[in-house]
């Protein structure tokens, strides 16, 4: 009996030990990044062969000051948050009404539209970059906000998420509203939308993260230095001399802050969103 308990204890210890070890592999690069961002340039590579490399010795904010001096961060954040906000506003409205119509309205072409949307989900953006770029330049949208926003409002995946969610709303509820004289459009905005906050939050956070990571498209269409989004600013800071690794690490940390804030506040929806995509898909 005693040895069994001992074995269980040992098992528990190994379980925690293993988890901790793997956890360290996952977080140590990030910890190194954060700690280096607070160190003077001369110190970040000073004691690589000891664990103190993960600790901010002689911490200072000088690297952050350098980043703000060399990059117009306010402008970069404004560019990024503005275009993402615009995409998300239209994304949530246009894709949700489309998903709702597909889920709850009877009309000719419904099935066709649905399979059209599902089929388009596999279409890789990278395969259409060139003509899309030409389209942008013909419209005169290169280096404008339109090029970042308008092509990315409609999203098959968002429509599909909304479709799935609205599909499960009981028809009785909608019938009752109709009997009370509410038009289908009004029913959607006054009854359906308010009870569907979770799906809106989920699509919001998934698309926020996706666009916060945007690199290739902004890199192609936003060539003006004052138009740069956050990922472009980070990438160009990395390849512009003087290359100060400590300042680069500070820039990386700054660029991650909005994502971390979003994660803290929307963790539940984010995780559920990732998870539900697997169950439904």
């Amino acid at each position: 009996m005693k040895s069994k308990k001992g074995a269980a204890m040992l098992g528990k210890f190994l379980f925690y030990f293993g988890n901790t070890l793997i956890g360290i592999v996952f977080v140590s690069p990030l910890i190194w990044m954060i700690s280096a961002s607070f160190k003077p340039e001369a110190k970040i590579f000073a004691n690589m062969n000891s664990l103190t490399t993960f600790l901010p010795t002689e911490p200072s904010l000088n690297n952050y000051i350098e980043v703000f001096r060399r990059i117009n961060m306010a402008n970069v954040f404004k560019n990024t948050l503005l275009y993402i906000a615009l995409i998300l506003i239209f994304d949530l409205i246009i894709n949700s009404i489309c998903g709702y119509a597909l889920a709850k309205f009877e009309f000719r072409g419904r099935k066709l539209m649905l399979s059209f949307i599902v089929a388009l989900m596999v279409l890789p953006m990278e395969a259409i970059l060139l003509p899309l770029y030409i389209e942008m330049s013909q419209l005169g949208w290169v280096n404008t906000l339109q090029a970042l926003v308008i092509p990315f409002i409609a999203k098959c995946f968002s429509i599909y998420m909304f479709y799935n969610f609205f599909h499960d709303i009981p028809d009785d509820l909608l019938e009752a509203a109709a009997i009370d004289g509410s038009s289908p459009v009004r029913t959607f905005f006054t009854i359906v939308m308010p009870i569907s906050k979770t799906v809106y939050a989920t699509v919001f956070i998934l698309d926020f993260v996706a666009h916060w990571n945007d690199f290739m498209w902004p890199f192609l269409v936003m060539t003006g230095e004052d138009k740069r989004t956050i990922q472009l600013a980070v990438q160009s800071f990395f390849s512009t001399s003087p290359v100060h690794y400590s300042a680069i690490m500070a820039a990386l940390v700054i660029s991650a802050i909005p994502m971390i804030i979003m994660f803290i506040f929307m963790q539940k929806y984010y995780v559920e969103g990732i998870a539900s995509s697997g169950i439904k898909g």
Partner: protein
């Protein structure tokens, strides 16, 4: 009578509303997804160079013939497949292992989950910049090489050696991405009824047998989905080589998307780049369909 009138009026309302609700999204999808897709194929049969916008000539399948004989294209294709074939199993198995580690409730479980997920909280650009520094071949400045040296191993020129560069990108990508797939697997694991495990434990099945006979069959749909998204994601590899190696050394990390970018945007061979893009598209769709066929078969 009145009731049927009301009903048909409602049906009419509904139909009108349906078109108002669907047309904006459909119109945008057509304008910025379908039309460019058609144009990718269309431009691919033309000689179209950015520098000579007035000299666009129809050349039939010449771009595809050129592509067939272009060693750089084959290199890019091979690199893309190599990355995909390695990263998909590595990342998916890693994600499943992590999910199994943190699927049960225990003290500190959410800390471990967050740790495994944490690389997702930055962007691919950030991760690529960070790891370029970590991979530095000098053990005095590169964290990973300094660890290797302290274990008595030789330092590795991770990103500057054509043999190791892609593997270095694979390792980093799996590290960055596994947390995401872990979350999907976690949801899948939580959907498995615990009675199945209890019943098999009564029958004397051990953990290993339970894993193969209960966990895996129940997760089939999830596994299929995870492989699918990881594969499509892997085929699109661009940011990591762009930031870390610029496709080098010796084109060892040049991928198909990278090649589309080089030909179309750096060299200005729009027509030719579109033929690469069209081939890329066909490959991605074909692989998704094949995967679906294989996984539906059993």
């Amino acid at each position: 009578m009145a009731k049927t009138n009301k009903l048909s009026a409602r049906k009419k309302d509904e139909r009108a509303a349906a078109y108002i609700f669907t047309i904006p999204a459909i119109a945008l999808l057509v304008a910025f997804l379908v039309v460019p897709m058609v144009y990718t194929v269309y431009y691919s049969v033309f000689k179209y160079q950015v520098m000579r916008p007035n000299d666009i000539t129809f050349i039939g399948l010449a771009n595809y013939q050129k592509l067939f004989k272009d060693p750089e294209f084959w290199k890019a294709l091979r690199n893309t497949f190599y990355f995909t074939i390695i990263v998909v199993p590595v990342q998916c198995v890693l994600a499943l292992a992590l999910a199994l580690l943190v699927s049960k409730r225990f003290r500190g479980v959410s800390i471990f989950r967050t740790m495994y997920f944490s690389p997702q909280l930055t962007s691919m650009v950030v991760i690529s910049v960070l790891w370029t520094v970590l991979y530095n071949s000098n053990p005095n400045t590169g964290l990973i090489n300094s660890i290797l040296v302290s274990f008595g191993l030789q330092p590795i020129n991770f990103l500057t050696n054509a043999k190791t560069a892609m593997n270095a990108i694979i390792f980093m990508s799996a590290w960055q991405g596994a947390g995401y797939q872990m979350m999907i697997f976690l949801a899948g694991l939580q959907g498995i009824p615990t009675e199945q495990y209890e019943a098999s434990a009564v029958d004397g099945a051990n953990k290993w047998q339970q894993f193969w006979n209960i966990t895996i069959p129940n997760l089939k749909g999830t596994i299929k989905y995870v492989i699918m998204i990881t594969m499509i994601q892997a085929m699109k590899l661009f940011t990591q080589p762009y930031v870390m190696t610029q496709g080098g050394p010796k084109n060892a990390t040049k991928t198909m998307v990278y090649y589309i970018y080089t030909q179309g945007f750096q060299k200005g061979n729009f027509g030719y780049a579109c033929s690469v893009a069209a081939v890329f598209f066909v490959i991605v769709v074909a692989m998704s369909l094949i995967l679906q066929k294989i996984t539906n078969a059993d």
